[in-house]
C-alpha cells in the first residue's frame, strides 16, 4: 500500500468506525472479543483496500468485509491468541444511552443474539436503514428475497420480545 493509500485508508476507517463497532456489537460478546473482531475487520479491510476500485459505495464494500469477517470469525472453531494492546483500538463509549434505554438496548441485543448469522446481518442492515437493493448487494440474495426474509425475522423477533418481556 502506498503512503497515500495508507492515509486514505486510515481516514476511511475513522469515518466508518461506527459501522465496525455495530457489527462487532452484534456478532461478538464481551469487550475482548469485540476488540479482536474489530481488529480482524480492519485487517481484512487493509488487505482488500488496494483492490477497491469504487464499483460499489465504500460503506457497501465495508459492510461486506465486516459481515464476512464477523461470520467467518464466529464459525472458526479455533482462534489464535489475541494481542493485548495497552489501550483499546476502538473507543467504546461507556453508556451512550440513558438507563431506561440501556435496559431496552440489552433486550435488543439479547433478541438479536438469538438469530442465525445471516439473519443478524439482515436485521443489522435493516436497522441501518439500508434499502432492499443495498441489502441484496451486500448479502447476495435478490431484493425480494431480502424483503420476505426480513418480514419473517421481524415476526420472529416480535415473538421473542413477547417471551422476554413476559
Amino acid at each position: 500500500m502506498t503512503q497515500e493509500q495508507e492515509t486514505a485508508f486510515v481516514q476511511m476507517i475513522q469515518q466508518h468506525q461506527k459501522l465496525i463497532y455495530k457489527v462487532c456489537s452484534i456478532y461478538a460478546s464481551g469487550t475482548g472479543e469485540k476488540e479482536d473482531l474489530a481488529q480482524e475487520i480492519i485487517l481484512q479491510s487493509w488487505k482488500a483496500y488496494p483492490r477497491f476500485k469504487g464499483e460499489s459505495g465504500i460503506s457497501t464494500w465495508l459492510y461486506r468485509i465486516s459481515l464476512n469477517t464477523a461470520i467467518n470469525y464466529i464459525r472458526k472453531q479455533k482462534r489464535s491468541p489475541q494481542i493485548i494492546y495497552p489501550e483499546e483500538l476502538l473507543y467504546h463509549p461507556g453508556e451512550p444511552l440513558s438507563d431506561a434505554n440501556n435496559e431496552e438496548y440489552k433486550l435488543l441485543q439479547q433478541m438479536i443474539a438469538g438469530l442465525p448469522p445471516l439473519d443478524k446481518a439482515l436485521i443489522l442492515l435493516y436497522l441501518e436503514d439500508k434499502t432492499y437493493k443495498e441489502m441484496a448487494e451486500i448479502i447476495g440474495i435478490s431484493a425480494s428475497n431480502a424483503g420476505t426474509r426480513l418480514n419473517r425475522i421481524k415476526e420472529k423477533l416480535k415473538q421473542q420480545a413477547k417471551q422476554l418481556t413476559r
Binding site: 486510515v10 461506527k18 455495530k22 480482524e40 485487517l43 488487505k47 464459525r75 441501518e128 447476495g140 440474495i141
Partner: protein, 206 residues
C-alpha cells in the same frame, strides 16, 4: 418491543456513538502491522505444513526406492504410503486454492458463508476419512520406514512387530471412534443444516 421501537433505539445508539473519539491512527497502523505478520489462518498454516511434509516424504521415498526390495507386502505398503502423500498434497492444494476464504470484499455474505461451510464440511469429511483409514496408513508407513531406516522387513518377523501395530491400531480406533462421534454428529449435521439454509435463502424459500 416492536421493530419500530428497535429502530428508534438503534438510532439513539447511533447518535451516542457520534461522540466516539477517532480511532488512534498510530495504534491502528501498529495493529495492522502486528496482525498482518500472523494473519495466515491456522487452516492455511496446516495446509502448507501438510503439503511440505508430503513433498519431502515423497522425495525421500523416491530416493530410497531401490532399498525397498521385491517383497509384495512391502511394495503394497510403499504404494499405500505414496498414495497417502499424494492425497495429502492434492487435498491441501485444493483447500488452499478453492475453498479457503480469500478477499473478504470480493464475495457477498451468502457466497462467503457458503464457502466457509463447504470448507468446514470438506475438513470434517477429510478428518473422518483419515480416522477410518488410519490403521492401514499406520501399518503401511511403519513397514516402509522400518525398511528404509533399519533395513528390516517387518513382515518376515511379524510376530515381533504385530503386537506393536495391533496396540497402536486399537488405541487409534478408540480415539477415532470418539473423534468420529464428535466430528460427525456435532459438525457435519450443523454444517449441512447451514448449507440447506443458505440454499433456501438463495432460492427465496424462507
Amino acid at each position: 418491543m416492536d421493530i419500530e421501537q428497535m429502530k428508534q433505539l438503534w438510532n439513539k445508539l447511533d447518535t451516542g456513538l457520534d461522540k466516539q473519539q477517532a480511532i488512534n491512527t498510530e495504534l491502528l497502523k501498529q495493529m495492522v502491522k502486528d496482525r498482518n505478520t500472523r494473519s495466515l489462518s491456522s487452516i492455511s498454516w496446516m495446509e502448507y505444513l501438510g503439503i511440505t511434509v508430503a513433498v519431502v516424504v515423497m522425495m525421500v521415498f523416491v530416493v530410497m526406492l531401490p532399498k525397498l526390495g521385491n517383497t509384495p507386502l512391502l511394495i503394497i505398503s510403499y504404494i499405500i504410503s505414496m498414495m497417502i502423500m499424494v492425497i495429502t498434497l492434492v487435498t491441501g492444494i485444493y483447500k488452499l486454492r478453492h475453498i479457503t476464504p480469500d478477499d473478504y470484499s470480493k464475495r457477498t455474505v451468502v457466497e462467503m458463508s457458503e464457502r466457509i461451510e463447504k470448507l468446514r464440511l470438506f475438513i470434517a469429511k477429510e478428518k473422518i476419512a483419515a480416522l477410518v483409514s488410519g490403521p492401514v496408513m499406520i501399518a503401511a508407513f511403519t513397514a516402509v520406514v522400518y525398511k528404509f531406516v533399519h533395513d528390516v522387513n517387518i513382515f518376515t518377523n511379524i510376530t515381533v512387530y504385530l503386537p506393536r501395530i495391533i496396540a497402536g491400531t486399537i488405541a487409534y480406533v478408540i480415539l477415532a471412534a470418539l473423534l468420529y462421534k464428535q466430528v460427525y454428529f456435532r459438525n457435519i449435521n450443523e454444517i449441512k443444516s447451514n448449507l440447506d439454509e443458505l440454499s433456501q435463502l438463495k432460492k427465496g424459500i424462507v
